[in-house]
Amino acid sequence: MNILVCISKTPDTTSRISFRAGDTEYNPDGITFIMNPYDEWYALVRAIELVEQNGGNVTAINVGPAANDIIIRKALAIGANDAVRIDIDPADAYVTAANIAGHARSKNYDLIMLGKETIDYNGSETGAMIAEMLDLPFVSYASALQVSGNMSTVTRDIEGGVEVCQVEGPFVLSAAKGMAEQRIPNMKGIMMAKTKPLAVEVASVQNPRVKANKYVLPPAKSGVKLISPDNMDELVRLLHEEAKVI
């Protein structure tokens, strides 16, 4: 089976966030960038496992500038067979999705996978958009996937539990925790990644529909108010009278 895995580049979870140009742009200076963990740990690894079991090919795709090649090479080192980069720095999820769908339209992938969301913009919408553009089913927040011939069985996280569905034929899946375990690339993988094919394609869609106007940092916490462990009536009073939450 041929699987397309969409990978995004995000700041490391522990990065300190700052802005520039009058708080209209995210400031990437001094930030360590990584492959979006949900794309890497869950979508990419499960795709590689499925191809190891059933044969086929895993293509990693990223929409971004040449600086993103480093995370694409990492995907190849983990085990993707080849990769595509669409050469545009996307301003919103629509531009990302439209370029991925544009690439996938003529390729007949059996499955398109990505993480449940990116850890920067937390949008969780790119997969849904790709699915609609390609008129395919979409299963979001998938925590397990079994494939048998043309039929896939997917477990999906919903509020307070799970839903199990069956999908016939190609579809788009966003992967959540439980789908697979992180794989650390080994030396052989890293060496092989250097010679695996990475095709660069021209962007077919450039104009975003949504623009970031301003970034704001959340108000600083005023500091913790410590309450004696022997005086829980005081904590309850504060929650009731001061914070007014109970």
């Binding site: 937390n122 089913p137 307070g160 106007n213 009536d233 904590l235 109970i246």
Partner: protein, 319 residues
């Protein structure tokens, strides 16, 4: 021009998140000088109640069918209603299903979209929607540049207020289009408020030492009327069910009150809970990072502190 709100009705009931999106949609409609139409798909009791939260009309599609969720067929139905109604603002809940629909609807309707809005749009100049980004470390104000807009609203963004009167319900028969996806099973816990819409959450971590000790956490949650959650190591060890896991890799929540018991407060955990209005940390380690994020802190042995807190809340409830 109008606002169309898709209201989810899991197991045939409209929940608080449903009332909340109707309130959101009707307040948006008021600021735009238009009306708010609520849409229900499949079984739902008391469809007219959407009027209490500001809808001027309810469209109830296929009111006698079970309507298993599929983002593809639901998108087709919602888009058709939006076009018939001339709706140019589509509002949804930011639930698992709501998020799956938002991106699809944006494409189907040539719209710009924002998932997880945390406030009403600013409409005085342009159309600005704010949302929490970088896992709660910043807020971004997005300008939606297209004539049609699709927004999913984060739970607990506003308090739904039932101040209107029941709305007229128009039932329509619009069979969901057949797709290649079939839901075969659903397993959800009964009788508790799901985490994304819970206003009060009691959460516990590794400091509990083992699953057999959860009784004191559950008792506190029961007395408070709160939903329980847990940290990642607790879910990973199988002490608590996976769907209770809050944090970056689990569920992101925004309750009014989050009580963290024996949770150190790693950045990945805080990423899922730092949108809570008020956070209380209970931990025996005064250096636990959670004390830097919390509003109130108790340094002490949770096995003594938690039962005392439960008793103190009982006293408040009886006073």
């Amino acid at each position: 021009m109008s606002v169309l709100v898709y209201v989810e009705s899991p197991k045939g009931h409209i929940k608080k998140t449903g009332n909340e999106v109707v309130s959101y949609g009707s307040r948006l409609a008021a600021s735009l000088g238009t009306q708010c139409v609520a849409l229900l798909i499949g079984k739902a009791d008391d469809a007219a109640s959407c009027g209490l939260y500001g809808a001027s009309k309810v469209i109830h599609a296929n009111p006698s069918s079970e309507a298993e969720f599929d983002s593809q067929s639901f998108t087709a139905l919602i888009s058709e209603v939006a076009q018939k109604e001339g709706a140019d603002h589509i509002i949804l809940s930011n639930t698992a299903n709501g998020k799956a629909l938002t991106g699809r609807l944006a494409i189907r309707l040539n719209a710009g979209d924002v998932t997880g809005a945390n406030a009403l749009p600013e409409t005085s100049s342009g159309f600005i929607v704010s949302k929490s980004v970088f896992s709660g470390k910043a807020v971004v104000k997005y300008s939606i540049e297209t004539p049609v807009k699709v927004i999913s609203v984060m739970g607990n963004t506003l308090q739904p207020q039932a101040s209107g009167s029941p709305a007229p319900v128009e039932t329509v028969d619009m069979p969901l289009k057949a797709t290649k996806l079939k839901v075969i099973e659903r397993k959800t816990s009964e009788g508790i408020v799901p985490l994304p819409e819970a206003e009060l959450v009691v959460s516990a971590g590794r400091g509990m030492k083992g699953p057999e000790n959860w009784g004191i956490v559950e008792e506190l949650a029961t007395v408070l009327g709160a939903t329980t959650s847990c940290s990642r190591p607790v879910a990973d060890s199988g002490w608590r069910p996976h769907h209770e896991h809050v944090g970056q890799t689990g569920v992101a929540i925004r309750p009014n009150l989050y009580i963290a018991i024996g949770i150190s407060g790693a950045i990945q955990h805080l990423a899922g809970v730092n949108n809570s209005k008020v956070m209380v940390a209970i931990n025996k380690d005064p250096e636990a990072p959670f004390f830097k994020a919390a509003d109130y802190g108790v340094v002490g042995d949770l096995f003594e502190v938690v039962p005392r807190l439960t008793e103190a809340i009982r006293r408040l409830k009886h006073s």
